[in-house]
């Protein structure tokens, strides 16, 4: 699969500060990539380097096969950008904003007007098209920025916090649109966000950046496997007797104990019934989730009656926190 974006040792030093310390990122074409990290980590600098607005101090960035620094004009012709620091022209009408940018991206005026009309309709701004943007709500301004980024049907879309300031319904609408662009039109989307839930739902791959270095990148599953060397499964049984317990401990990955949920939660549970129920829930470490069918068969053979089996999956938030807590340093060394 071809990469829409690839960087090799991409670095940027400003007068005093080293903003990016050589990052290597690969983003397959037609996928959604989440770029996660705290404020000041280097996300905006990366976007500015990839869009050719800044020139790198070291390394190289290629976007759609073009050198982002040397062919920056051609790169910018084929990408769309939405960032919080690049606002609308507030004194001009919504439609004028779109038409002007359409023309700057090379559309003829007639085509720009037509495309602006379609986008205004799509984003529910049709009725306010001729009004000044300064009269718009935050959500409407955001939708207009998104429309502007799409005016020339870019092949790669850079979105910085695309849903911040939007109400849940509008945010959902925008996320669906981004997914649609990616799936139906094979566009590549590069999203910088702090919203980890959103990134988890949306992104095919993510990278976590801190202090100018990429701590880890990959699919959620890949990151999880890198960060947690063993898989876990939670099994709920009608009753845990000695035979079942024996079967499970023989099966479980070596060196790690089996926890009952009761052991964890007894302190917080409110009644004996709850504690007893929790005692039937086992958290079992495995070498990988592929062992689950065999584990289930083993429990059944030992006479255990299973109510539920749930592989433990770590959320992007857990992954992010673990990386930020120092797990990333170890990964970066590998």
């Amino acid at each position: 699969m071809g990469y829409a974006i690839e960087t090799d040792g991409l670095a940027k030093t400003f007068a005093k500060a080293e903003a990016l310390k050589g990052i290597d990122v690969r983003i397959p074409a037609g996928t959604i990539f989440g770029f996660l990290g705290p404020n000041g980590a280097g996300k905006t600098t990366t976007v500015r380097l990839l869009t050719g607005v800044l020139k790198p101090s070291g390394g190289q960035a290629r976007v759609l096969g073009l050198d982002a620094a040397a062919d920056s004009t051609e790169v910018r012709r084929r990408i769309g950008v939405l960032t919080e620091t690049a606002g609308n022209y507030e004194r001009l009408a919504a439609r004028d904003n779109l038409v002007i940018f359409g023309q700057l991206y090379g559309l003829k005026k007639v085509a720009a007007v037509e495309r602006a009309g379609e986008l205004l309709k799509f984003f529910g701004l049709e009725e306010r098209a001729m009004e000044r943007v300064e009269t718009f709500s935050t959500g409407m301004k955001k939708r207009l920025l998104l429309a502007r980024a799409l005016i020339h049907e870019p092949e790669v879309l850079f979105l910085d916090e695309p849903t911040s300031g939007l109400d849940p319904e509008a945010a959902h609408h925008v996320l669906e649109l981004i997914k649609g662009l990616c799936v139906e039109r094979r566009r590549t989307v590069f999203i910088c966000t702090h919203n980890l839930d959103e990134a988890q739902r949306l992104c095919d791959t993510v990278a976590v950046i801190d202090a100018g270095r990429v701590l880890a990148q990959g699919t959620l599953k890949e990151l999880e496997e890198k960060l947690w060397s063993r898989a876990e499964v939670v099994v709920e049984l009608e009753e845990v007797n000695a035979r079942v317990a024996g079967a499970v401990s023989n099966f479980a990955a070596e060196g790690r104990g089996i926890e009952t949920a009761a052991g964890r939660e007894a302190g917080g549970s409110e009644g004996v019934a709850a504690a007893a129920a929790a005692a039937n829930i086992l958290r079992i470490p495995l070498r990988s989730h592929e062992q689950i069918p065999d584990l289930v068969a083993e429990i059944v053979r030992a006479g255990g009656r299973i109510r539920a089996v749930q592989p433990v999956k770590h959320s992007l938030e857990e992954i992010y926190m673990k990386l930020m807590g120092g797990g990333g340093d170890e990964l970066a060394k590998h």
Binding site: R48, V53, T73, G87, N88, Y89, L104, R132
Partner: protein
């Protein structure tokens, strides 16, 4: 060079400034006062008021200080005609340099410092427009209206002066060759100088107001021309206009070179 991009940037900037009251008030009022109200009042006073109510003594003294060539211009004119002729041809010329300085600096401050302040300039940086095209679009957005407003004001001035002075002269006294040279050469040169300096100032200040205030100081050298004319130190004849134009053209060229180097995406964006 993509002319569509340059034109779109220019029209965008002009549209934007056109929605700003801070632009319209001075751009309409100042030319209106300088090019219509003042000339009509002065012309009417000089051509209608009783001669003994005017301080003719100081006028006579001023005539005598004039170079001989200039005195020849007034040969055969009545004192009233000479007074109207002087104000129409000499005293008002520097005012027509204040107009382009003012208009060009307001637009340039809005278009460079203002766009940075309002966080819109970065939007332009993500488009395929080159740094030079962006700069040219923005320079033209200040230059074209500045020259246009000056020319419109001059047309109004000619109409006002000729209408009020025709009964006195029996002929149209404006326009004259030095006036045309001033409008055709010096006004564009001054507009360019004003906007180039404002662009350089805009790169170093926080916002539109600050850029405009500093650029306002550009009017000071023109005030010297006003007073110089009034006290008879020198006169803005064709020769002086050509000489000043040449000096300004050289300055313009140097400033454009510096400006073009200063205005790059990388430089502007790291200042945001």
């Amino acid at each position: 060079m993509n002319w569509q991009s340059i034109r779109v940037v220019m029209i965008k900037d002009i549209k934007e400034i056109g929605k700003n009251l801070q632009f319209w008030l001075p751009t309409v009022l100042v030319p209106l006062i300088m090019a219509v109200v003042l000339p009509v009042v002065v012309s009417l006073i000089f051509s209608r008021a009783p001669l003994n109510s005017l301080n003719t003594g100081s006028w006579n003294a001023m005539f005598k200080r004039m170079p001989e060539a200039l005195q020849n211009v007034f040969a055969g004119m009545t004192q009233r005609q000479a007074m109207v002729f002087i104000f129409a041809n000499y005293l008002f010329k520097p005012f027509f340099l204040i107009i382009p300085v003012m208009v060009a600096s307001i637009i340039a401050a809005n278009s460079f410092a203002g766009e940075r302040e309002r966080k819109t300039i970065e939007s332009l940086f993500y488009t395929p427009v080159s740094d030079l095209e962006l700069l040219m679009g923005k320079v033209l957005a200040a230059f074209v209206p500045s020259v246009a407003v000056s020319w419109l004001a001059f047309a109004a001035f000619v109409a006002a002066v000729d209408a009020t002075s025709f009964p006195l002269f029996g002929r149209l006294i404006l326009p004259t060759v030095p006036w045309v040279l001033l409008l055709a050469l010096l006004v564009p040169a001054v507009s360019f100088l004003s906007l180039a300096i404002t662009v350089l100032i805009s790169a170093r200040v926080r916002g539109f107001q600050e850029a405009q205030q500093i650029a306002g100081a550009l009017v000071v050298p023109i005030l010297f021309l006003v007073f110089g004319q009034v006290i008879g130190l020198f006169i803005l004849d064709a020769g002086a206009i050509l000489a000043i134009t040449v000096v300004l053209a050289v300055l313009d060229y140097l400033l454009v070179k510096i400006g073009a180097q200063t205005f790059s995406r990388e430089r502007v964006i790291t200042q945001l």
